[in-house]
């Protein structure tokens, strides 16, 4: 059945991807029998004349239970509604609602129930008086129940979208469209102030914000009974979201100060979990993703890997091996036995290319078939859009979502969601090992190529010139802001 799905107008690329993942999570696409798992996706339609970035979409879901489960677990779905009518004028809306079958309407209008009608205009604020007038205009619907604004049994929404003349940076609307529907479910946005970073006990410079962490956990299908791993755990911000949804969590980091010590006995990764009453991670360890400590036979143990690898812009990655050793400045040396106990191994810079290679290799080996790899990948922006990008690929994985979040005029980060579709074979393992050795031998080359840091932070001579021009010929109206929300 077709439902109206209204999104929050933010993180545009992430919205449908979240609904698709949640549909998978709740079993909309049928039993996991292995075949056809990768090609299942939902049917979507845009309302007439609507811009693709509009918050209003129609989605086809098998039942109201699925619609409710998906909406309630989501972060970006403002509401999913059973549409009782739509039109480009209030007369057309009335006609449409009258035509909607009685057997779908009457059960929700009966005298024993309570209800509420919410009036919402996308792109404009309307006065309390105007809202009341519109509600009165719905008198032709035979509401028999009592009104309850606090906690009604049924919540009806009258939504309008129109070209209000002012250019507010929202997606352009060609023609007015009005919708009336019964709310089936919606995101629990109260999660965000509960888990917000502002009040978190232990923070780090690259801690993932709560909203994004929940989106990542949804993309990874985190549910009770699953084991989720973060190889760059830091302060545990991503695992918190996975633990909230009931998954068992495990994390590693190369920086022992972050993972073991934190800032004290009451200010560390464990205290973060304690703060929210969440079960502690199953394991935290200090390990190098470049030379992981897993036993050779171990594979297909994680249901998902969710992480935000270091891109080298705000936080650089590190890997094992002396920095000078790898560059060839110093000859190979042995650590004297008496110094071994307290020896702190030196680490070397870890380029993004090698980091992503190691992550894909780890994921290919350690994720179960059908499991998910969800991670952020940084991209440089050219002229306001991200070009046809070559995202990292691996024969064991299929990319099913790429959602961009603009961070600055220079670069964005893209959340990649991949599903494991093939086993980790001998050939793949050997190829990875060869690549690993190649990285070691060409250490210096990889540090320079694709160095994101300089591209992001270089002085903006060309940028300043361009800005100067536009301030002279400033357009009177701001154009559609697109994905800058």
């Amino acid at each position: 059945m077709w439902y109206l799905c209204v999104f929050y107008h933010r993180l545009l690329d992430y919205r449908k991807a979240e609904v698709e993942s949640l549909a998978e999570l709740f079993g909309v696409f049928g039993d996991d029998d292995g075949d056809n798992k990768e090609s299942s996706s939902l049917e979507w339609r845009l309302p007439q004349h609507h811009h693709p970035d509009s918050p209003f979409h129609f989605v086809n879901l098998p039942s109201e239970d699925f619609a409710r489960d998906i909406a309630n677990r989501s972060i970006l779905v403002k509401g999913i509604y059973e549409l009782w009518g739509e039109g480009s004028s209030y007369e057309e809306l009335e006609e449409s609602i009258r035509c909607y079958p009685d057997e779908r309407k009457l059960p929700y209008l009966d005298s024993g129930s309570t209800f509420k009608i919410t009036v919402d205009c996308f792109g404009k604020v309307i006065s309390f008086q105007e809202q009341n007038d519109r509600i009165k205009g719905l008198a032709y619907i035979p509401f028999k129940g009592r009104a309850n604004l606090r906690n009604p049994d049924h919540n009806f929404w009258l939504m309008e979208t129109d070209d209000y003349g002012t250019n507010n940076g929202l997606p352009p609307v060609v023609q007015r469209r009005i919708f009336f529907g019964r709310e089936v479910g919606g995101a629990d946005r109260k999660l965000l102030p509960t888990y917000q970073l502002k009040s978190r006990t232990y923070l780090g410079p690259t801690a993932m914000d709560a909203e994004m962490a929940f989106l990542m956990a949804n993309q990874a299908l985190a549910t009770p009974g699953k084991l989720v791993y973060d190889p760059f755990v830091g302060t545990g911000s991503i695992l918190i979201a996975a633990a909230h949804f009931g998954a068992m969590t495990m994390g590693a980091d190369i920086d022992i100060r972050v993972v073991r010590d934190g800032r004290g006995p009451d200010c560390n990764v464990w205290s973060n979990f304690k703060q929210y009453g969440l079960p502690m991670p199953v394991a935290l360890l200090r390990a190098d993703n470049n030379l992981p400590p897993w036993r050779p036979g171990l594979k297909e143990i994680f249901d998902a890997i969710i992480c935000d690898p270091p891109y080298g812009v705000r936080a650089g990655g590190r890997k094992s091996g002396g920095r000078k050793l790898l560059k060839g400045t110093v000859d190979p040396y042995t650590v004297p036995d008496d110094k071994r106990t307290d020896h702190i191994p030196s680490t070397a810079a870890y380029s993004l290319v090698e980091c992503v290679h190691d992550l894909l290799d780890l994921a290919a080996r350690m994720i179960v078939l059908g499991g998910r790899l969800v991670f952020f990948y940084p991209v440089l922006r050219e002229d306001d859009y991200v070009e046809d990008h070559h995202y990292p690929e691996h024969p064991c994985f299929k990319l099913i979502a790429a959602s961009e979040q603009i961070l600055s005029s220079r670069y964005s980060r893209v959340l990649l969601t991949m599903v494991k579709i093939g086993p980790y074979t001998e050939e793949i393992a050997e190829a990875a090992q060869l690549k690993h050795i190649e990285f070691r031998e060409n250490h210096l080359k990889w540090l320079e190529d694709g160095n994101l840091h300089s591209a992001v932070f270089s002085p903006a001579d060309s940028q300043i010139a361009a800005a100067g021009d536009s301030s002279l010929s400033r357009e009177p109206k701001p154009k559609y802001r697109g994905k800058y929300v």
């Binding site: 699953k226 084991l227 199953v282 360890l285 390990a287 650590v335």
Partner: protein, 122 residues
């Protein structure tokens, strides 16, 4: 560090043929209660190297696990309880993991094992 973690780790020092399982040097063991999740236990059971697991549990002072186990044991609640206890409720807070071939110590402090290799082990 729980025994689930211990069961996944090995010494990957250059030149070592078989670094699993790591021997455990115990200094401090703590028991912390965790809610039992049967679904999780059933999923993880096939991934566990049982002999190493049972041996490690004995080192930590828990001798209730059978020497061998197969998936039919998972039907028994009593077995699930013991499995759960050994896998997730026993913690090595302080101690070390020892490479079976070279004797190199990987310290465990505040429950966190430090598996980073030195420059000459890489």
């Amino acid at each position: 560090m729980r025994l689930l973690t211990h069961n996944m780790l090995s010494s990957n020092i250059k030149g070592v043929a078989n670094g699993f399982p790591l021997r455990i040097e115990v200094e401090k063991v703590v028991e912390k209660k965790v809610d039992l999740n049967a679904g999780f236990l059933r999923n993880i059971f096939p991934k566990i190297e049982w002999k190493a697991f049972a041996e490690a549990a004995r080192t930590l002072g828990y001798a209730e696990l059978p020497e061998d186990a197969d998936s039919s044991f998972l039907d028994s609640d009593d077995f699930l309880d013991k499995f759960h206890h050994a896998l997730l409720e026993l913690h090595l807070e302080e101690g070390a993991l020892i490479c079976p071939e070279t004797g190199r110590r990987f310290p465990v402090n505040k429950g966190i094992p430090n598996m980073l290799l030195h420059e000459d082990e890489v």
